[in-house]
């Protein structure tokens, strides 16, 4: 299952704080729509240029890239150092 939410939180020693909640589930339809437009154009561009041999690997890389993105669900990186705190979490 692809991650639905990306949480980024930074709080620095200087007192500055940044917090982001990015609803990834809203981005997926946009990315899909963009992909539906871009992929055929990319395939045509590869066909009519000297990069014809790279079409198949590029097409095979697409589902694998989606799998990599889906696998990031549950990723959590949290670092405290001094007064600085960084959190990146995908859920």
């Amino acid at each position: 299952m692809p991650p639905c939410l990306l949480r980024i939180r930074c709080s620095l020693d200087s007192g500055r704080r940044v917090g982001l909640w990015i609803p990834l589930f809203l981005l997926y339809p946009l990315i899909l729509a963009l992909a539906l437009v871009v992929i055929p154009v990319a395939i045509l561009a590869l066909l009519f240029t000297r990069h014809r041999g790279k079409i198949l690997p590029a097409l095979r890389a697409l589902p694998q890239t989606c799998r990599v993105v889906s696998s990031t669900c549950g990723l959590r990186i949290e670092v405290h150092f001094g007064g600085n705190h960084v959190l990146v979490a995908m859920s």
Binding site: R67, V68, S71, G74, L75, R76, E78, F81
Partner: protein, 148 residues
């Protein structure tokens, strides 16, 4: 367990079931102990169910109670990401893989990326289920382990 086997043999002797049915039933009863609760061992401890690890955890925490300035790191990586990454890595062209292996070799990491196969990673992940790396340094304690 013996009662069940006796009952099966009784039914066979009474002709209520055929020999092949009795065989199947006895085999099922014979496999039952593996799926039932394991018997307690000498120490009286029931071993924990072996679960497939799902996350790789790296935890760095300060030793002692004073934590001022000491780093605290908590990383959780889904092992599914490793699997997917290896499969994606298999699509890297051989020339690029050779360049990457060369660059890693220069840093002292002798890894041939072409040898990394999904099967090898599965074996590695299976083996990691019991792995725990525990390092006690002066100010910090580092733990690397897998959790389900």
């Amino acid at each position: 367990m013996d009662d069940e086997r006796r009952r099966i043999l009784q039914m066979l002797s009474q002709g209520k079931i055929t020999v092949s049915d009795a065989e199947k039933l006895l085999a099922a009863v014979g496999e039952a102990p593996a799926t039932a609760e394991p018997a307690q061992g000498e120490a009286g401890l029931i071993p924990a169910e072996r679960r497939k690890p799902r996350y790789l955890r790296v935890v760095v925490e300060p030793r002692g109670e004073e934590t001022n300035g000491a780093p605290h790191v908590n990383i959780r990586v889904p092992l599914q990401l490793l699997r997917a990454g290896i499969k994606l890595g298999a699509l890297i062209p051989p020339e690029a893989q050779a360049q990457m292996s060369e660059a890693l070799d220069e840093k002292g990491i002798k890894v041939n990326l072409a040898d990394l196969s999904p099967e090898a990673i599965e074996e590695l992940i299976e083996g990691m289920s019991d792995m725990t790396v525990d390092v006690d340094a002066d100010e910090v304690r580092v733990r690397v382990f897998c959790e389900s």
